[in-house]
């Protein structure tokens, strides 16, 4: 089993062995040209949509670019929106390597936010770093246990993981509503039932003088860690082996259920951290605003990024940029508020479709035949 990486290296060099000049940059180029081409096709389709709506498509593109990436001011808007998506995307991406389709991101985020709130309130008089550390740990454990349930149900009882995780979303949101309407409710929150607030000075601050909070670091760090874990450790290799062929993994003596449940726990922990960030950096308390759809958007990000840690950072930033530019389409071009959803839908559909094009172009092969 541990000899397989070397075997991979051996397979990768037949061209050199045959004496022909290797062209290793060509497969790498494929990984750039196909997604970039997909984005351009989506832009062309969206341009057509704008044309039908009677707007100058190029002016709209320019405005989207300006509102999302055009300046540091605009880019902060993009980053603020991207931060939670990086974390919630991991909740789908990690189990996907096991071959599971888990969509419990929203529920894990809510449970993480709830756990972080309860823990934060319990230690609110402690120093800032202690409060934040306890909240983060509680959020990750809360979200982690929530998705560990999905893993346990699947590996121990054969319950379909997609349905189980979807239903757990509803349960988590119902639990949130029950708790903030009942046991956790701050009686002064009349028309929007909420928990008691975390003190302002114990909240997660913004980075320097920007508008971006430290949640962005959590997101980038988690994606990097996930990437290293899944691509460069034996744990990741075992997980991918289960995803590749669960029977072979069992025959090889891997503790399949344990590895699967641990991976689901890590997935939930990532989304739980997103919930903690929402509470600690944005809302300061738990209420219905926790279930704002970041979890569901994360599913999209994970699929478009093909469940890899590094691309998640890029795709989340792209989606953050798209969401950030929604406002200017309404304010400057008087386009309907759903326009940005049309754009988002086109971009992601074309990118997902472009997945089927890998390996179809001879040019991107390592050697000419």
């Amino acid at each position: 089993m541990s000899s397989t990486p070397e075997a991979k290296v051996a397979v990768a060099t037949p061209a050199a062995a045959a004496g022909r000049p290797p062209l290793p940059w060509r497969p790498a180029l494929e990984g750039v040209v196909i997604p970039v081409g997909a984005v351009l096709v989506a832009l062309a389709l969206f341009g057509l949509f704008c044309f039908v709506q009677g707007r100058n498509a190029f002016a709209v593109f320019a405005a989207i670019n300006k509102a999302a990436f055009g300046s540091w001011y605009a880019f902060q808007n993009t980053l603020v929106r991207a931060a939670p998506l990086m974390l919630t995307a991991l909740a789908t991406a990690l189990p996907a390597r096991l071959g599971l389709v888990v969509i419990g991101n929203e529920g894990a985020l809510v449970m993480g936010g709830l756990a972080a709130t309860v823990a934060g309130l319990a230690v609110q008089t402690a120093p800032l770093l202690v409060v934040l550390g306890v909240m983060l740990a509680a959020g990750m454990i809360g979200g982690g246990l929530w998705l560990a349930i999905v893993g346990a149900l699947y590996y121990q009882r054969g319950v379909n993981e997609t349905i189980a995780s979807l239903l757990l979303n509803y349960i988590a949101i119902a639990l949130l509503n029950h708790l903030v309407n009942g046991p956790l409710r701050d009686p002064s929150s009349l028309n929007k039932p909420s928990s008691f607030p975390i003190p302002d000075e114990k909240m997660l601050p913004v980075i320097g003088s920007s508008n971006v909070h430290y949640g962005l670091f959590f997101g980038i760090a988690a994606c990097l860690l996930a990437w290293v874990l899944m691509e460069h450790t034996t744990f990741g290799f075992k997980v991918r082996m289960i995803g590749g062929n669960i029977r072979a993994a069992r025959l090889a003596g891997l503790p399949v259920a344990l590895l699967g449940i641990i991976t689901c726990f890590l997935a939930g922990a990532a989304a739980g951290a997103a919930g903690m960030v929402e509470v600690a950096a944005v809302h300061g308390r738990a209420n219905e605003s926790l279930a704002a759809g970041y979890g569901y958007a994360g599913i999209l990000v994970a699929f478009v990024a093909r469940h890899r840690g590094l691309p998640i950072i890029l795709v989340a930033t792209l989606l953050g940029g798209i969401l950030a530019s929604g406002g200017i389409l309404q304010r400057e071009f008087k386009l309907p508020d759903a326009t940005i959803l049309v754009f988002q839908g086109l971009v992601f559909l074309v990118i997902l479709f472009s997945d089927s094009l890998y390996g179809k172009f001879g040019f991107f092969k390592e050697e000419r035949r």
Binding site: A59, F61, P336
Partner: protein, 372 residues
């Protein structure tokens, strides 16, 4: 194929460079930003505010900028920031209740020269930034009038109320509707169903069908968009009272009347104050603005074709009393629907009474519980 992409890319970049000139803004104009949590055409809460924005823009010196479907997350902070920085808005109206804490409070601290006006929130002196204000309407007055019409037109005596959440603003409308109906039809009851959220059209349609199946023949609601409830009532051939905005188009036969916001009036008042150089921080714009039928903050929809003369007469009489200030909706003797006393005879809660903003009870005649 690749060639086309690169030429397109070139075109995109070129246009990007050419058209990135800043948005021109006339210095003599008052720019007002309006933010809605849902779509502008929901026949409900958001449409009412969008109509207010359209109304205030009739002033030639007002420029309104709008964004719809903005969630109650950091997204609304970014929208407010963009309106202030990119569009030059000097006053913003983030209209959803959930925008207030923490989003408006945070941006208000960062932008002390901008007026932040919020619909429904409670400004607290000393606790909130001085450039924050709140406005709201006593819409329960218009709901009470709708209740009178409903009490007249019901044949079964069973009225239905589809509500989002058992919070004070909603309970106040349920109670006002019930008291209005029972003021002309003491045997009328109001069956209430809470859907649990502000916009869940499927649950709202189910609730409407289920109430109609139980014999309810007049429906009303307090959800963000009454659209499916109006449509369901019309299809099933019963009466309906609208809420937030005029819904008579969706129920041309069964629409009795409805409680509507008149935000045009409120926004025009604010625009005049801002133009005159008044600010919240200086105290020249009041921090709390409230009003009902008399002040023109709320209004009743025109009567539908099914409304009889007797109903119109009683409704108009009640309106006249609201207009001269002599009407009090919540007055003793008032019992709750579990038999307990709320107010003894001779006592009353006037519109401004803070007790009403903490309402946790349902009056006698309401079938349902805040725990449901």
């Amino acid at each position: 194929m690749k060639k086309h992409f690169s030429s397109l890319l070139g075109a995109v970049l070129a246009t990007g460079l050419l058209t990135s000139a800043p948005v021109a803004s006339a210095a003599d104009k008052v720019t007002m930003g309006f933010i809605y949590v849902g779509p502008k055409d929901d026949y409900g809460y958001n449409q009412a505010h969008a109509e207010g924005c359209a109304g205030v823009q009739k002033l030639p010196w007002v420029k309104g900028v709008e964004e719809a479907s903005v969630p109650e997350t950091t997204a609304v902070q970014e929208t407010m920031r963009n309106m202030i920085v990119q569009d030059g808005a000097t006053v913003v109206f983030p209209t959803s209740f959930g925008y207030f804490d923490p989003h408006i409070l945070k941006l208000a601290k960062q932008n002390p020269k901008i007026q932040f006006l919020h619909c429904g929130g409670m400004y607290t002196e000393g606790k909130h930034p001085k450039n924050v204000g709140s406005y709201f309407g006593y819409i329960d007055e218009a709901v009470y009038v709708a209740g009178i019409v409903a009490g007249h037109e019901t044949k079964s005596g069973k009225l239905g109320f589809i509500a989002a959440k058992p919070i004070p603003q909603v309970l106040r409308n349920i109670n006002a509707f019930t008291l209005g109906a029972r003021s002309v039809n003491p045997k009328a009851t109001v069956q209430v169903i809470f859907t649990g959220d502000w916009s869940v059209p499927v649950k709202e349609a189910e609730a409407a069908s289920s109430l109609i199946n139980q014999g309810v023949d007049v429906l009303t609601c307090h959800v963000d968009s009454p659209k499916v409830i109006l449509e369901t009532a019309e299809r099933r051939g019963i009466f309906v009272c609208g809420y937030h905005a005029n819904g008579s188009k969706l129920a041309p036969k069964g629409y009795l009347t409805g409680a509507e916001w008149n935000w045009s009036k409120v926004y025009t008042d604010y625009a005049e104050m801002v133009k005159a150089g008044k600010t919240l921080a200086a105290g020249t714009i009041p921090h709390l603005v409230r009003g009902g039928l008399k002040e023109g903050f709320v209004k009743c929809s025109d009567y539908g074709p099914a409304v009889g003369e007797a109903a119109k007469k009683d409704a108009e009489a009640a309106k006249a009393k609201f207009m001269d200030g002599s009407m009090v909706i919540f007055k003793g003797p008032l019992k709750n629907n579990t038999g307990g006393d709320i107010l003894p005879a001779g006592q009353e809660y006037k519109q401004q009474d803070i007790e009403l903003e903490k309402m946790g009870w349902l009056v006698e005649g309401v079938l349902g519980s805040t725990k449901s």
